[in-house]
């Protein structure tokens, strides 16, 4: 059953990829898309310079954020945990906004690295406040409170330095607006984290048996947890540096996938990436086509889908 849902997911993903290239402020017929990749075609700019890189970027970011969420949930075993609920996303966002506010002339290529620092600090902060053994709800509340703190710092920075506001605004609600080849090339090196995460799939299954059993199978549980969380933080930071904190994606995608394919990480992790990519492509498609030429940030769409889901999860959590 689990394997059978993979081709269906792939098929949906392909359909959305094509739809994202076709629809927008101007609709392009299906046969016009392939022509649009040739230099000199009437749709060349729309397809090649604008929609294609943005679509690929949405797919990658969705996949990476979902993967980060699956890693965090796999390690912490807390259904409400994900990088955005725990404040890691907003920590990265704050660092990025801080960097752009105080070094407006600096090279944008360093942004992911700065965001990584921010999300690491946010993760350490959470760990320092909660320690190792805190309840599901308490961890989530502390994370949410930290996220609110970072968000209010971001607001404050933007209000105090209104000159750089336009730059920072692109980062705030999680949007793919105006993202293109340049941002795509910034994200590419960070894709190396994906195979690292998939490589951890098998040991991740084993730590669910309990630390002692995992130990007897030759797995160092704490080391595994640390490396999984570090990879999750890296994935989150690189995505936030490029698109801003897109909420609820890392929370919802792993849950949906677990319902589809079950909990074996070898299948769960790749499927989660597919589901995350599908969700973000869908969110961006709706955000672009709901009221053209006006565009909503994709982060708004993910919150509208994700917040009710979070409430439902909360309702079920014992």
């Amino acid at each position: 059953m689990a394997i059978r849902s993979l081709p269906i997911l792939l098929f949906i993903l392909l359909g959305l990829l094509v739809a994202n290239l076709m629809f927008g402020a101007v609709s392009i017929p299906f046969d016009g898309i392939l022509k649009g990749f040739q230099v000199g075609d009437a749709n060349y700019f729309t397809v090649h310079e604008y929609r294609f890189p943005r679509t690929i970027l949405a797919m990658l970011v969705g996949a990476m954020m979902a993967l980060a969420g699956a890693l965090v949930q796999g390690v912490i075993r807390n259904p409400l945990a994900s990088p955005d609920v725990l404040g890691v996303s907003h920590g990265a966002g704050l660092a990025a906004v801080f960097y752009m506010t105080f070094f407006p002339n600096a090279d944008i290529i360093w942004l992911p690295a700065v965001a990584l620092m921010g999300s690491l600090i946010a993760a350490l902060m959470l760990w320092w406040l909660c320690g190792q053994h805190s309840s599901t709800i308490k961890l989530a509340i502390t994370g949410v409170a930290l996220a609110a703190l970072y968000a209010s710092c971001i607001d404050f920075l933007m209000l105090v330095k209104p000159l750089e506001i336009n730059n920072a605004l692109l980062w705030l609600t999680g949007s793919l607006w105006g993202r293109g080849w340049h941002q795509l090339s910034m994200l590419l090196p960070w894709l190396l984290l994906v195979p690292c995460a998939l490589w951890l799939a098998k040991p991740l299954n084993l730590i669910h048996l309990g630390d002692d059993s995992a130990m007897s199978l030759g797995i160092k549980a704490n080391k595994l947890r640390l490396s999984s969380l570090a990879i999750a933080v890296g994935l989150t930071a690189s995505c936030v540096a490029i698109c801003g904190p897109i909420g609820f994606l890392g929370l919802v995608a792993p849950h949906l996938t677990r319902k589809l394919v079950g909990g074996r990480h070898q299948i769960l992790l790749p499927s989660t990436m597919l589901v995350g990519a599908i969700l973000l492509l869908l969110a961006d498609l709706v955000a672009r086509t709901i009221d053209p030429p006006i565009e909503l940030p994709a982060g708004i769409m993910t919150a509208i889908i994700g917040a009710p889901y979070f409430l439902w999860l909360l309702f079920r959590t014992k």
Partner: protein, 333 residues
């Protein structure tokens, strides 16, 4: 008993004096056109028509201070009532989604039907806040009582996120209204005028008197739901009446100056530290503290990047969030 009353009266007098000083300072400080402290006093009772400074005090600064005082008192009273009803130390209008719901109601009405005016938007704020509050209470299992504190807060946070996303969507789609609404979302007293004051003060008095009337009942609720019922408290009516009061207080405050958060969370705890758990005493103290806090934040908000202004709500959020984290750590959730 008599000594308690005396010390309470002393505290009230001291706080009132502080409030007066804060308000007075707020009338003349950080103005682009210089205002002397005496200008601020003179403009109140014997205005010199020639002086621009005194005109600024009378037409801009005075309504701003008065509205700030009322908003602070309202939000603090709402926070006290909410913490009393839910028996949850983290309850407050901003944490449990009422602010975000009210903002959504207002943004929807002001962009879809701008001809409704102030009354329409206030009613929309109350309805939006009410829907959010009801959802949070239902999803957070609040009616079952017991130790569902954390769940209630997370439900509030999720509803807030949902409302905030919808609000932004409404604002972006109805672009022509956006600029004002964005400042307003942060919560700012910049646009407080006499017109707002005239609409606001009757509702404010009504809400605060209502809060004082419900105070003795809130004392009984602290004994737990069952004991309160045995003492003859009708829980349903208290919770419904209290919720309505909260919506009246928060809705009117938010429709006047925007979504100012964390006053309702911070102030009740400060007031408890001063006078203890008796609502008949700590409710008035909380009102005064809240009023002072908002006027103070507004004064600071003018000073930070003088001559420009930052919304007072942003400053309160910066103070409030760490305090919230401290409260979460202190309690066992």
């Amino acid at each position: 008993m008599i000594t308690v009353r005396l010390s309470f009266i002393r505290q009230c007098v001291a706080l009132l004096l502080l409030l007066l000083i804060c308000s007075w300072v707020s009338l003349f400080s950080w103005s682009v056109i210089p205002i002397t402290p005496t200008d601020a006093i003179q403009a109140l009772y014997n205005m010199n028509e020639e002086s621009i400074a005194q005109h600024i005090v009378h037409d801009l600064r005075l309504p701003r201070v008065l509205i700030g005082l009322m908003v602070g008192a309202n939000l603090a009273a709402a926070g006290v009532i909410m913490q009393g009803l839910t028996q949850n130390p983290l309850a407050s209008p901003s944490v449990l989604g009422i602010n975000a719901g009210a903002a959504l109601g207002m943004a929807t009405v002001s962009s879809l039907a701008p001809w409704f005016g102030l009354l329409g938007t206030s009613v929309a704020a109350m309805i939006g806040g009410g829907i959010a509050w009801a959802l949070v209470m239902l999803l957070g299992n609040a009616w079952r009582g017991g130790n569902e504190h954390g769940r209630l807060v997370l439900a509030g946070v999720a509803i807030s996120a949902l409302c905030a996303a919808l609000t932004k969507a409404v604002i972006i789609i109805a672009e022509d209204q956006a600029a004002g609404v964005l400042t307003w979302l942060a919560g700012s007293l910049t646009d407080a005028r006499w017109q707002t004051f005239d609409a606001f003060w009757p509702v404010c008095i009504l809400g605060l008197v209502g809060a004082m009337l419900i105070a003795p009942t809130l004392n009984l609720l602290q004994l737990g739901d069952d004991n309160a019922r045995n003492l003859g408290v009708s829980l349903i009516w208290v919770k419904l009446g209290g919720s309505f009061l909260v919506l009246l207080l928060v809705g009117s405050a938010i429709s006047s100056v925007g979504a100012i958060g964390f006053v309702g969370l911070l102030v009740p705890h400060m007031a408890r530290m001063l006078v203890g758990q008796d609502h008949r005493q700590f409710l008035p103290i909380a009102m005064m503290l809240g009023a002072g806090l908002v006027v103070l934040s507004d004064t600071v908000s003018r000073a930070i990047i003088y001559p420009a202004e930052t919304p007072a709500g942003a400053i309160l959020a910066l103070i409030g969030a760490p305090f919230f984290i401290y409260l979460v750590r202190k309690r066992t959730l």
